[in-house]
């Protein structure tokens, strides 16, 4: 059923992505591909993987932007995967019932056995979260690693999405954004986490944490702002100092 859940649960699983920390290593994208090409949406087909015109399905992509101008400009690495929106038009436009949003945790999924490959859902997503698999003839998207986060065969510490598990700098966090007391919700509140393209009205669940203000002065880093002499130098070193200061 592609109508949205009438009584969505309080639980809203999603990601919080820290743009201050991400170093743009693409490890999350690689581990996403690795896990999911053998997981729920398998396979994530690659076309001409070793030739020119390479193309393939990836559920997580890392862009890099220059933001701002002059002294305040910076490079920002920007990971982007499905935001598991509260009002996902990708679901409601689906004519077959293949796309759906789960009431119990808010995850947006595609039932590949029902998908006719009309691609309308990818047109309805402003974020480019859905990628079409030409080989399988169906649409693929991030599942929030539904086959990891509830997987009791994994150690509890591993029951997080592959992108979160692999991030070497902990720039990606997974949790319940419907619970205001969860770690991820607190992080969003503390750091001013925001929505991408709020004007589109999709109410994404995933949040982005902005880069922290730039630290340009020595004092901003916590070090002493300037080196001050501990005491007036005397003796030989004092003489050298006086001679060199002339």
């Amino acid at each position: 059923m592609t109508s949205l859940p009438e009584s969505p649960g309080a639980k809203r699983l999603g990601l919080v992505i820290d743009l201050d920390i991400c170093v743009g290593c693409h490890a999350c994208a690689v581990n996403c591909k690795e896990w999911n090409t053998g997981g729920y949406p398998a396979p994530l087909t690659d076309e001409n993987p070793y030739g020119s015109g390479t193309s393939g399905v990836w559920l997580n992509r890392i862009h890099a932007y220059e933001s701002g101008e002059g002294a305040n400009s910076r490079t920002v690495h920007f990971p982007k995967s499905c935001l598991h929106c509260e009002t996902p038009a990708c679901v409601t436009v689906c004519p077959t019932g293949a796309s759906y949003k789960r009431a119990e945790d808010g995850i947006v999924l595609v039932d590949e056995d029902l998908c006719i490959g009309c691609k309308l859902c990818s047109w309805a997503c402003p974020y480019g979260a859905r990628e079409y698999d030409h080989d399988a003839g169906v649409m693929k998207k991030c599942t929030l690693c539904i086959d990891r986060i509830y997987n009791e065969n994994l150690e509890e510490v591993d029951r997080v999405p592959a992108c979160v598990a692999t991030c070497p700098v902990s720039a990606r966090h997974f949790g319940d954004l419907g619970d205001p007391d969860s770690d991820v919700s607190r992080m969003v509140a503390d750091r001013g986490g925001y929505d991408l393209m709020p004007e589109q009205g999709y109410q994404p669940t995933n949040k982005y944490l902005p880069p922290r203000p730039r630290r340009t002065e020595a004092g901003d880093t916590g070090a002493a702002a300037a080196l001050t002499p501990v005491a007036e130098a005397g003796g030989f070193l004092g003489w050298v100092d006086r001679m060199l200061s002339r």
């Binding site: 059923m1 592609t2 109508s3 949205l4 743009l19 743009g24 015109g53 193309s55 393939g56 399905v57 990836w58 992509r61 890392i62 862009h63 890099a64 932007y65 220059e66 933001s67 701002g68 101008e69 305040n72 490079t75 920002v76 920007f78 982007k80 038009a89 409601t92 436009v93 689906c94 004519p95 077959t96 019932g97 029902l114 998908c115 006719i116 490959g117 009309c118 691609k119 309308l120 990818s122 047109w123 309805a124 997503c125 402003p126 974020y127 480019g128 990628e131 079409y132 030409h134 399988a136 003839g137 169906v138 991408l196 393209m197 709020p198 004007e199 589109q200 009205g201 902005p210 880069p211």
Partner: protein, 310 residues
């Protein structure tokens, strides 16, 4: 947006087909068309052939055409599903209308009107598929549904004028109605072009990333084009778009209008022959317009790939 030929052909052909079906139904109900077997066969046959070929061609771009029947299930939320349901439902009155007209030479006005309603609802749903997509500013526009309805009515009535003339059932009213439809549709389309040229839309590279502007793409996520860039990143050069708009106006509106005025000076089948050229021109212009409708549409996802506004 990538202009997929199957979708452009589908919306143009089925639009003309539904338009012709609707006008045949309306004028039979008004008693202005005779229940002539051969006229019914050719007129309704052409309308239903255009509709059917269009619907079939729209399944060519599916990844799993054999599952297309599933698309009738989600009419509660999906305009694409509603379009499918309306298209199939319209075959019922249209089929009965055609059987009565062609086999029994009794054209039922009520079935004609029901066919016209079905045709209008189907074209309305087609327009809403595009108009409901917020990420494409040029489609999420209040003129899009009137444009789709206008082009269907316009191409349909010009085809009706041509066929009625060729079968000797011509009526100057058909030509005048065609001229009115051409003028109204041209006005709606010009208004649409003015609207998309002036409205800048709310989404920018800064809102897409939430970063302080200006935001410039430093490194794309991949070295080759991906699905998103091929499907959503199609761009037509502005100077070509302007030229194509002029071609669509000249071929789709000005030429049919001149030919129809000329046909009003002639009698019988000669008038029908000239109106047939007008119908072909109007349909050709509609194809160019529909191609532009896709090529000029810019998806919000392009903001992540270096576009500053969408």
């Amino acid at each position: 947006m990538h202009p997929a030929f199957s979708v452009i052909f589908f919306t143009t052909a089925s639009g003309a087909g539904y338009g012709l079906l609707a006008w045949l139904g309306i004028f039979v109900a008004l008693g202005m068309l005779p229940a002539d077997r051969w006229f019914g066969l050719v007129g309704l046959g052409l309308a239903l052939a255009l509709i059917t070929v269009g619907l079939l061609s729209s399944t060519f771009h599916l990844g799993h055409p054999e599952r297309a029947w599933r698309a009738f299930s989600q009419w509660r939320s999906s305009w694409l599903s509603r379009e499918g349901v309306a298209a199939v439902a319209t075959y019922l009155p249209a089929g009965l209308f055609g059987i009565g007209w062609v086999f029994f030479e009794q054209a039922n006005g009520l079935l004609g009107l029901l066919s016209a309603v079905g045709a209008a609802v189907t074209v309305y749903c087609t327009g809403m598929i595009y108009a409901s997509l917020k990420p494409v500013r040029q489609w999420h526009n209040k003129s899009v549904v009137p444009v789709y309805l206008g082009f269907a009515a316009m191409t349909g009535v010009v085809w009706l004028t041509a066929l009625a003339g060729l079968f000797g059932f011509g009526n100057p009213l058909f030509a005048w109605l065609s001229l009115a439809a051409l003028a109204i549709t041209a006005a709606i389309k010009l208004g649409y072009w003015r609207s998309i040229d002036n409205d800048r839309g709310g989404s920018t590279a800064a809102t897409a990333t939430g970063l302080p502007g200006p935001v410039r793409l430093l490194d794309p996520p991949h070295t080759e084009e991906n699905y998103l860039m091929r499907e959503m990143g199609y761009r037509v050069a502005r100077k070509h778009a302007e030229k194509l708009r002029r071609i669509a106006l000249a071929v789709g509106f000005a030429a049919p209008a001149v030919l129809l005025l000329l046909s009003l000076l002639l009698e019988g089948r000669a008038a029908g022959g000239i109106a047939l050229v007008a119908a072909l021109a109007a349909t050709g212009g509609a194809l160019v317009e529909r191609w532009l409708f896709f090529a000029e549409a810019k998806h919000a996802v392009t903001l992540y790939y270096g576009a500053q506004s969408a």
